[in-house]
Symmetry: C2
Amino acid sequence: MNGKLIGVGLGPGDPELMTLKAHRVIANAAVIAYPALENGDSFARSIAADVIPDAAREITIHIPMTQERAPAQAAYDRGAADIAAALETGRDVVVLCEGDPFFYGSFMYLFTRLADRFTTEIIPGVTSVTACAAAAKTPLTARNDVLTIIPGPLDSDTMRQRIEAAGAVAIMKVGRHLGKIRTLLEQMDLAPRARYIERASLPSERVLPLSEAPDPAPYFSMILIAKGQDPWLT
Amino acid sequence: MNGKLIGVGLGPGDPELMTLKAHRVIANAAVIAYPALENGDSFARSIAADVIPDAAREITIHIPMTQERAPAQAAYDRGAADIAAALETGRDVVVLCEGDPFFYGSFMYLFTRLADRFTTEIIPGVTSVTACAAAAKTPLTARNDVLTIIPGPLDSDTMRQRIEAAGAVAIMKVGRHLGKIRTLLEQMDLAPRARYIERASLPSERVLPLSEAPDPAPYFSMILIAKGQDPWLT
């Protein structure tokens, strides 16, 4: 009898924004897996560090940060093989995921490699989008607003079209794309409504007007624009 | 010295999907407020029921479910006045919110009425969007996918445009709009990829192909379409 693959969302960074279920599952885990940079640093592991049992076996999946995608995919191949070997011993494997497992995370590359062969369970987590809205004290969407979540690497023309069509916008993974995005939002007259948030929920969290955002921004940064279409909110 | 207004996200329904922080704040609350139907039923309160201290004072905000919006806004006026009176005694008021406080919730109508006068804190929660993806075991968005969240009441033409532009789509508040949405997705040849989820994370959770979804659907229902633009995932 094989073990179960469990993808656990850890939330945006504050360990207290982990769910009760994530906490329970991690505290009882025999095998834990997580992505890490090539130097071994793992944001996911750092969020859960105080909960991981001393006796747990840890599978570290080193993801190369290259422009080319094949090296990362080879790393997921190896990670999935290590996880499969552990599952075949009958033990569950808990995969630690920043935010939510199915929301712009690396977990889905493991999931697609393993879900055909093993039982799976996904424990959702708080995403950086609502954590940033909380940090900025900016209501995102009411009633019939459309919310569009846009990755920062998108080209300006596509980004402009998506923003025009939305009632509220979250631009994720801002990082080195900050200059391009700021220029676009200034052209669209949306810059005064835009809020910049970095490292939401962590002690180093910062919320700034877009005009004061650092360029380049850190990887864990976001821009929120609530265009506020609900007249009862204004 | 006034108390603090604390909006607490409770997650999608399973009490174990509450965050550790939400649990701590509710367990220590002296005054708790929450929206309820006119008959007194409150989904938010039901999620937190086992955590609310016996000694806590409870402020119930009865929201009339009318098409007209003025009666609900009058209820928020009264609720905000009750909360303000409690805050002025120096006590914090914890407002219970299904999902996340700033994500399609009623909390923002209280927030806009009180945030100018009182200190506020927002504790983000797991949204129904990622809870539904977890229930359906459907990865939502990878890398540079655009995710668009669309309220079910939107008209078909606008909905079609938003869906065409997105990499992944979550249609919220499906309810009595199910027929309209199903027809649209069939016309767009997206029906086979669409998953229907109701009451995600609750014991009564159901995940169905769109063709088998009930019409009308319950209020807490969603349709997810992952158009899957990342070739490494397919």
